[in-house]
């Protein structure tokens, strides 16, 4: 087929083809926006409802039927009731300690390993990657019971530290893979260039690579924090007196008021609502990498 066989660009056929395509495009766009908004509502409405239950009066929580949208009277009564309930403050502190220790520990261990995967070709590299991936896929449930027995034997049971050790084991594989993908996104030439201009390898790492990878590593750190903050099964198995917040809420589900549950549920969501904003761009990095 040569160019002369085609109808000229200003012919009515081409114009109508364009019109059709545009119309179809427009309809498609509208449909996509519609779908986007419906899905967004499906996600937002429940969050909004539990938010309004977490910030209202206890009478409203008990009342029926509720004036659902958006007329639920705002008050800090339920939330402050939750925060002042017995053990909540301590659980909050425990949760924060566990999450921070997990974040620090897993980052410190994962950064060298991630760097090695990204920068070196060494025998066993693929095996190591595969092992890390396999660990990632293991069910948490399987690990919690033997670890509880183990910690009980060495006297580490029911301590915040033991839970942080367990959470680090859970978070480590993902962190290693994410960190390695972050390092891989910084070309090695940059490091080399620094060395050409007289920087030692350590200096070029410190002044060239570090600033470039810091945001990515921070994102993976936030993700680790959220993972540890949310984790409830291992937390309930490994702690008894030193409950973290999720474990506390879970074990008091059967004997607590609705107000306590709703406020607690919303409170548990807050970090993810904040952090997802910062790490959403890195999600594809993380999971794109993991699925390769």
């Amino acid at each position: 087929m040569t160019a002369t066989d085609l109808p000229p660009l200003d012919s009515p056929e081409v114009a109508s083809l364009h019109r059709n395509m545009r119309r179809r495009n427009l309809r498609g766009r509208l449909f996509t926006y519609g779908a986007a908004i419906v899905i967004a509502l499906w996600i937002l409405v429940p969050i909004f409802f539990v938010f309004s239950m977490a910030f209202t009066t206890e009478d409203t929580v008990r009342s029926y039927p509720k004036n659902f949208l958006p007329l639920i009277p705002f008050s800090t009564e339920t939330m402050s009731f939750f925060l002042q309930s017995e053990g909540v403050l301590r659980g909050l502190v425990n949760s924060l300690i566990v999450a921070v220790v997990t974040l620090v520990l897993s980052t410190v261990i994962a950064v060298p390993a991630g760097y090695a995967i990204a920068r070196y070709l060494f025998p066993g590299r693929d095996l190591f990657r595969l092992a890390v991936l396999a660990v990632r896929a293991f069910p948490i449930v399987v690990l919690s019971i033997p670890l509880a027995v183990l910690f009980l034997r060495v006297g580490l049971f029911d301590s915040v530290l033991s839970l942080a050790l367990m959470h680090t084991a859970l978070a480590l594989p993902t962190t290693i893979l994410v960190v390695s993908s972050v390092f891989a996104s910084v070309p090695y030439e940059l490091e080399e260039a620094g060395q050409v201009f007289g920087a030692t390898p350590l200096q070029s790492f410190r002044y060239i690579v570090t600033p470039l990878v810091l945001p990515g590593i921070a994102a993976s750190g936030l993700f680790t924090f959220v993972l540890s903050w949310n984790e409830v099964f291992a937390a309930s198995v490994l702690t008894l007196e030193n409950r973290t917040l999720p474990a506390l809420v879970l074990t008091s589900l059967s004997n607590s008021s609705d107000a306590f549950q709703f406020a607690g549920g919303f409170f548990l969501m807050v970090p993810s609502i904040i952090f997802m904003f910062f790490i959403r761009r890195y999600l594809f990095n993380m999971w794109g990498q993991v699925s390769k």
Partner: protein
Amino acid sequence: MANKQQGSATAEQAGSRTQRRRTVTPYLLIAPALIYLAMFFAYPMFQGLMLAIFDDDAALVLVDEPSLNGREVERLTQGTRLNILARQGNLLADESDATDLLTEQWFLVSGEGTSGTDVSGWAAESRVRVRDEAADGTPLGGTIRPRLGAGADEATPLFAEANETSEVVAEIEQRVPVTIDDIAILEVWFQVEASDAAGKAVGWAPSRFVEIFDDEETGRVDEGSVGEFTTGFISKMFNDSFFSDAWRTTLLLMLLILPAQFVLAMLMALVIDARLKFGSGFLYIFTLPMGMSDLAVGILFFSIFTGNGLLNSVLESVGILDGPKTFLSADTIPWIIFAIVLAELWRATSIVMVIIVSGLQAIPRETLEAAELFGAGYWQRVRHIMLPLLLPSIQVALILRTILAFQVFAVVIALSGGDIVTVLANETFRQYFEFRNNNVASAYALFILLLSMASAFFYLRAVRAQTEVAST
């Protein structure tokens, strides 16, 4: 294999990304991670496996003499009834954490012997009356206890060692004052036979494994001294009254959730991939549930489905209901299942979406544009180009989601209390937390692990077969 080599070859060409010099540096860099995972992953994993199939104190070994070096004569399982034939003190092998010990003390005493000279030797606590104690209660001296009854030996033997089988070094008269130079704590050993096989096998066992009944003549094996591999815990799990419920519900939930989830995730991914205005805002909203704990989401859906919750309020104000309907009770199990399915769809679809989106981004735009040029409509492109190219991503997402689906836990507890509707992870927790049975809990965990591995294997095979079909 060829693929792999190609892959690393391109990595080398792409070049300086990787250093080709052989060094130990990478091994040093991955060492901490390896050590950590070995300590807190591989080792507990192995322990967990052992918990499920190895009974730490399955049997009690009877030996032919009251000593740790005795020859094994018989193995009795836990709970066997015993006849007690004799008892004897014996040196305590280790004073570790063993409980339920019966002990007796022996004293190293010295005093004037029957021969008139000073002698020294070991005597059981029962032969010495302590009359002098240090401030902390340590016995310092006493007299030899008189022996009562006809035919009782006038003299008390002193032994070379704190053991009745050792050599008698001297004899000592009753009521003779002695000094106590040393103390030995002995564990009592019993000579026993199984009462249902009386006279067959007689052997010795330490007191810590034996429970003596009040008559002092019978007892039972309280604890085993050696472990044995057993399928007992696993069959106990299978026979557990909650097992079949848990297993059926887990499977049912998976069958209900996964297909809907993948359709929804695909829709969400296409919306994100369409690069709308406010796309980044939609991305934020779509990924919000990803960072939320299953517990919080369970509570969230509880707040909707509970008696005076959102759903009833809406239904009543629209006029569908006249009064609140109870959704979450033992009589409305289908509603509970429905609520769990919705909660899991709400919570865990984001992660599938993210995986699919990163798969979509890897599809070359040219391919899609070419298809469009040849007149393929949008859904045709989705069906014939995107979906086949997305298979690897879908495979990963399927494996991940299935493994997570076996672990559904807090959502179920939040919506059903954990009794009305139960799942495998919940039973693991119940065995551990309520019944304090680590072994059966581990059997459940092992079961979940095997299911996860089997399904991962299944998907790997199934999706590969599909790609082969597609490529021929």
